[in-house]
Amino acid sequence: MSTFIGDWHALAILFVAGVIPNQIWRMLGLWFGGGIDENSELLVWVRAVATAILAGIIAQIVVQPPGALASVPDWLRYGAVAAGFVVFMLARKSIFAGVIAGEIVMIAGKYWLG
């Protein structure tokens, strides 16, 4: 059981850093919903910043990869993302087709490199 949970400190940090700052917006929506226009200027800015933060996270995983992903050369990781994106667009924005294509390019490339 102790290895399943790990240390309780990490779990407490999850609540402070992850659960509360995330959940607060759902609860605000529940309490104050109704009077907010989804197309208001403030929400356009917020959505743009949120999208850019998520894009930054995506870039971080690809540019500064964790664990096993670091064993794949830079150019192959970037190439796999690019190939996935091309297929995503060609397949009329199918998320699944894009993911599969990116994975095939990266795994085949890494396998070929040995």
Binding site: G18, N22, W25, R47, L54
Partner: protein, 250 residues
């Protein structure tokens, strides 16, 4: 899978409606995308040094893919709790308009606010999209039960995916472990690209990708926030400038 007609006795009890909701996870390709995403999150959590219990708790209590990868990536790379919390809360603001737009679809005269707490918790982009698709086929007084079934069904799928991803990352050859870790950026890149509704969203996505490597050179510890706020604000400025030009012409 087709849902029963609105006047069917199948809808007479909340429990039946709950089961129909849970079964509906089989009727959407988004379940497959979620499965792949959470497989990747499980692998990412493993390689970033978190326990399986921690990973499952993050899925059950956060229930928002972007927030989860932000917590895992930032804490895993040594950011402070405050830096993570700020990045998470900015990413989570989008949940506010989603909750606001979903709840009126299931409110009835008798609905109390506390009946909607679990629905609000389960609201994330997948459920939000599916509400618009499924709810017109569900009698209004059974919609909360149906969404509880659908949402908890999706959470269960993701908990299973997390566990499989975590176990596989621990035991796979480096080649396939790398493949699992790559699921997260690919799935999020394409689902974000698909959700771009306005020019501002597209610019934010592209600039956000390009500016992060630059911001990372600052080594500020808040690189993600720096690139996110700068890229997002530029995107918003372009949106405003364009609206101004269109407005001036009109």
């Amino acid at each position: 899978m087709a849902l029963p007609p609105l006047d069917s006795p199948q809808w007479h009890t909340s429990f039946r409606a709950f089961l129909w909701g849970a079964r509906s996870i089989g009727a959407t390709v988004l379940t497959l995308v979620l499965f792949a995403t959470y497989l990747g999150i499980g692998a990412l959590a493993h390689d970033s040094g978190f326990s399986l219990g921690w990973t499952l708790a993050s899925t059950a209590f956060v229930w928002a893919g972007p927030a989860q990868i932000i917590v895992i990536t930032t804490l895993g790379s040594g950011a402070t709790v405050l830096q993570s919390a700020i990045a998470v809360t900015v990413s989570a603001i989008r949940l506010f308009p989603m909750v606001v737009s979903v709840l009126p679809m299931m409110r009835t005269e008798q609905t109390k606010r506390r009946h909607l707490i679990l629905v609000a918790h389960l609201t994330a982009v997948t459920l939000w999209v599916e509400c618009f698709r499924f709810l017109p086929q569900v009698p209004r007084n059974r919609r909360i039960a149906f969404i509880h079934g659908l949402g908890l069904g999706l959470v269960s799928v993701c908990l299973i995916a997390n566990t499989i991803g975590y176990m596989l990352a621990a035991n796979l050859t480096p080649l396939f472990a790398a493949g699992m870790l790559m699921l997260t950026p690919l799935a999020f890149l394409f689902s974000t690209a698909r959700n771009c509704r306005e020019l501002a969203d597209v610019i934010a996505l592209v600039l956000g990708l390009l500016l992060f490597p630059l911001a990372a050179m600052l080594n500020s510890g808040v690189d993600i926030l720096v690139s996110g706020v700068v890229a997002g604000t530029i995107a918003y400025a372009v949106h405003r400038a364009r609206a101004g030009i269109v407005g001036a012409r009109a």
